[in-house]
């Protein structure tokens, strides 16, 4: 069924507004965004083949919710990882500045 394909695209656009931190330069921002798109497309490609026959509305809803929920969890994990990385980087920068002073 093609319902899956249509609704997976929703997950794809969530990411657009993710990164707006001034700390990161434009380039790194773009790289991160590309990475996010790649993760999403890869996930969509993987899960589209996994779905077997959708017979009833119940199964369709279950599959959809399960898959979207999983990609959201993966994305949130990556997101928090990124925040931690940013925090670590800025802390290291501060330490370096203090050393030079």
């Amino acid at each position: 069924m093609t319902v899956g394909a249509d609704l997976y695209c929703n997950g794809y656009y969530l990411i657009l507004n993710l990164f707006e931190n001034e700390l990161v330069t434009q380039t790194i921002n773009k790289l991160l965004l590309t990475g996010y798109y790649l993760v999403n497309i890869g996930y969509i490609a993987l899960t589209l083949t996994q779905i077997d026959e959708v017979e009833t509305t119940t199964v369709a809803l279950e599959q959809l919710a399960y898959n979207i929920g999983r990609i959201l969890l993966i994305l949130s994990y990556l997101h928090f990882q990124n925040i931690a990385l940013l925090a670590w980087l800025s802390k290291r920068k501060q330490i370096l500045i203090n050393q030079f002073n």
Binding site: N21, G69, L72, S76, H79, I83
Partner: protein
Amino acid sequence: MTDLIVKTYIAYLPVAILLTFVVARIFFKNSKIFMLDIFSGREEIAMSTNKLFETGFYLLSLGFALFRMKINKSNFITIDFEMVEGVRTRIETLVYGKQELFEVLSSKVGVLAVALGFMVFFLMYMLFRGKKKSAEGRDRKEELQRIQEI
């Protein structure tokens, strides 16, 4: 008539989404002040950090809510034994009514609410820790300045 299970899902989804949005709105409206304090008044970075955490919170909680939406139907299976052509055979039938589904729905919403509560308290702990850390850093900076002046 659509299936009762579908009706349960349709009831569960708006409740979960509304719960997430209300909690996130309240929490992140109030966390702005803490963020401003942590980043010692630098408004841009505080707001953007707040926004990043908000996005992460939405992702995490909606993902969790959708991930465990599926109702485990093995609870509703009743097993009967019948004699079919002289052979005792096992017949499984799905039996569920409004009561069972309502119980399942409430347990799902309850677990989601408890998870959201844990998340909010964890974030509050993080905020308080960050506040303490930044206050310590400010104190150290002041001390250094005083030493340099001497």
